[in-house]
Amino acid sequence: MTATGPGAPRVLLVDDNQGFRSELRLLLEDCGIQVVAEGENGQEALDLATRTEADVVLMDLRMPVMDGLQAARALRDRVPALPVIILSAYDDPALRSEADAANTYAYLVKGCSGGLVLDTIEQAWAHRAADQAP
């Protein structure tokens, strides 16, 4: 678990469970990661991804209105450089496979350590930075 400085990743956090979202936000912010926006479903993720300057999207799968996989596919087409990390309650190989097909950066299962979430965000951010380097 690392606390980063001013150059820390900016995260768009999308989950329909408000309590979980709040707790995760507190942990991320405790570790120096900035949560630039929160969304409750995939549709909000699409809107916020284009309106905010998020470096990484951390998103649930099962959500109302639009689920995480649909949103990930749409983000892949609209903002291909934006890495999407799925954080789902389902540890399901078929869903992992679908998430891979949607070109998501990682698939994490809820219940994993906060440290793993933070490390994955850092890696995704570094990956994005490397891709965008001239």
Binding site: M1, N17, G19, F20, L27, A89, Y90
Partner: protein
Amino acid sequence: MVAVVSVTGATRVGGEVARLERAERLSFLLEARVLEQAVLDARTAASGTPVGGSAGQRAAVVRQELNAALAELAALFPHDPAVARIRAAAVDWQAQVDVKHQLLAAGDLVAAKRADRARVDPSFDRLAGLLRTTAASYSAAAGDAQGRSKAETLAVAVAATLLCLVLLWRMERGRARQRAAEVRAQQDRSRLVNKILSVAERQRSGMAAELHDGPIQGLTRLGLSLERSQLRLRRGQPEEAARLLADAQDGLAGEVQALRRIMATLRPPVLEERGLVSALSDYVEVVREQAGITCTLAARLPDRLPEDQEIVLYRVAQEALANVARHARASRARVELVETDDAVVLEVHDDGVGFDPAAELVGGLDHFGLAGMRERVELAGGTWTVWSRPGAGTVLTATLPRELVAA
């Protein structure tokens, strides 16, 4: 003329027209009884259990009349071997039907079906074949009859043959109806099984969603909270860490409570331990507290019911009261559970806004899960009715026959 009069019986006596006429009437009676028994047998096959109640009493009467007619025919033609053979074949057919009913009563549907094909059908065919042979013999011998004109004999022979053919046709039709009833029964069973599987699938899906949205999210959140506590400790902030741990402890108690609620929904422990009346009493209390409805229970049930029936009645009451709480806008609800000589009856009354049952059930809207309730009760061998009218409340009744309850 008669299907059961043999060559010798018809030709031996010159003035036996009256006897033949009597035999003819008997043959009509026999025909009717054989057909009726086939239909009752078909109903048995359709219901999957031996006929009971009024149908069972009717079956006994039919059998009595059939045997009386056979006995009278045998008395009219005591030395006629064809009559004796027909009588024996009829007795055998009934015996095979009895065996099938015994297997059904024992709940062995597979063996009953096997007996139907291996024993009942061949026995029926033997009886039909004897009738056919007798008609043909009579027809051939009638030409040699003494003391009658050729024309009269021919007319009698033709009439006998035609009657036999009609009888056979009707018997075959009865058997075809039986087959059709069996096919319908099989289709009904398949439909019910599919419904049950579908309902079970919906329940599993609902339970998965409840776990996903409830305890899994809650416990994951607690995990994050504990990580924040560790972080505080590492940063030398023990008081903040202690506050987070105390919050986590409260949160954990809440999640355990949520899991208990889910467990109780799956199978209320009180139902298993203390029975239907106690379980209903607890549930009525919950409705009273949570929905603010004056909800009462009046139960007269001296003994515990079989487990399956307790579950059926509990789920119906639960669903009905959930509907009252959600939709009825009622101020009062009453649950009644009574045992009569032949049934256990559950009634749920409310004084709410009511609805149009036809639109819900016949119109296929089913906002209130009525079809599921009805299927659950009918599958348990009972009947389910709902009475309601907009503005006049609702009465829902589930009745389980006592012989099934005691099974």
